[in-house]
Amino acid sequence: MVKPLIIQKDNQTTLFDVSLLDRRKLYGSRKRVALDTQARVCRRASLTGDGALVLVSGSTGQGYFTETGAWVERRQMVPINDWGQVTELHPSTLGIPQKVEGPIEAIDILNLDVQSIYSLTMLDDELGLKPRLDNGVIFKCPFNYSSGVEVETAYLVANSSGYFAIVGHPVEAEWCAHDQALLPPADAAFREDDLDFDMF
């Protein structure tokens, strides 16, 4: 069972159950499948470049390898920064009280590069957050669903449907000035691959 999100201020806590919210849970989804001549669903497979092997689901593995071809297990790996130094791996924040900040300006949420959105179920409210969230007050706290190289930020919001955590990293944008012919950096261009076309 997933540990709860615990937020804390002045030694009082509020606990939430967290559940990842995605579009298909709200609106459903669609999938395209191929049928053979007898209307049976076909399986996708991969044919290797030399045509020698047909690889079906479950017949391939993937992993990290050194230049000499040695397999490196995930548990051996550590966070490395741009200068090649080992940095801290941040554990999951779930189950560990996190310092809550608020009220937060609504506009701050619009600075986020959103990574995930969670639906929250309030389990206990010693901190008395419910009436404030219900009145539109926004709070934030550190959040990592699982361990990672950085700690994300969760913005806690409420509406008539429930409570939600909008999780991501704040990204500051460039200001555009008249005398500055500002074009998006090449690596910042919006990529079609960013979009999940399986959904509708």
């Binding site: 991969s46 470049g49 017949s59 790996m77 490395i80 539109g136 919001v157």
Partner: protein, 236 residues
């Protein structure tokens, strides 16, 4: 999709402007010190030595055979790195399909149950450098919008010359002064969702602007989902 779009303002004027993504760049990556790692796929099992094939050769309880002689491992193929592959389909008997298959689209409800099968309906992209994204005139206060919509993508709009600077600055200032987002859309009336690639996810688009003296920031926020509790939605 190109890196420019055409946009209309409150007066119905349009202009082509540049578009860029805003992505967080992680300060670290997972790896090993002083080692360059590459992520690769490899063969872990071959079809000839699958569970079904093993069962056929050794019977239902073939565990001891695996312990004794590793018959499930193809010593020639297992562990080979996979580079380029082609996608193929296998028919109901597991044989490669050499004719073009019929494709159907299956629709699932929010519980994951199949609700309909149909001939696939292709949706075309409607955001490009020719067709404008239209200003709808529907304002939503920022304080309300952040509690109602999940904004999963944020794109920044940039001017490409002096004329488009004035054009975008005016839009940004209007939105900044109103502390609101402007709903924008595709199609002649601007009521269609934005679709950035063929058969892509439809997004609702919102313009968000900020000004600081003579500088501006203008963003196109994309939302494909409202903030709703799935358990409440599905119980209705």
């Amino acid at each position: 999709m190109s890196d420019s779009i055409k946009l209309t303002d409150a007066k119905g004027r349009d202009a082509s402007v540049a578009l860029g993504g805003l992505k967080h760049i992680p300060s670290a990556v997972i790896g090993l010190p002083n080692e360059r790692l590459t992520f690769r796929r490899f063969v872990s099992a071959t079809q000839e030595l699958s569970h079904e094939a093993m069962e056929k050769s050794f019977g239902e309880n073939y565990g001891q055979h695996i312990v004794d002689g590793d018959p499930e491992i193809d010593m020639e193929q297992t562990g080979l790195f996979i580079d380029q592959t082609q996608t193929i389909y296998l028919d109901g008997d597991g044989e490669a399909l050499f004719t073009e298959p019929e494709v159907v689209e299956i629709l699932f409800d929010p519980q994951g149950e199949e609700k309909e099968r149909r001939v696939p309906i292709d949706t075309l992209s409607n955001v490009d450098s020719a067709a404008p994204i239209r200003w709808t005139g529907k304002n939503i206060l920022v304080t309300e919008a952040v509690r109602r919509f999940a904004f999963q993508r944020r794109l920044q709009l940039f001017h490409v010359n002096g004329i488009t600077f004035d054009f975008l600055f005016e839009i940004a200032k209007t939105l900044h002064d109103n502390q609101s987002l402007m709903l924008v859309g595709a199609g002649d009336k601007g009521t269609d969702p934005l679709i950035f690639r063929a058969n892509g996810k439809p997004y609702r688009g919102f313009l968000h602007g900020r000004v600081d003296n003579t500088r501006f920031q203008l963003f196109l926020l994309l939302s494909a989902m409202e903030l709703k509790n799935p358990s409440l939605e599905t119980s209705l």
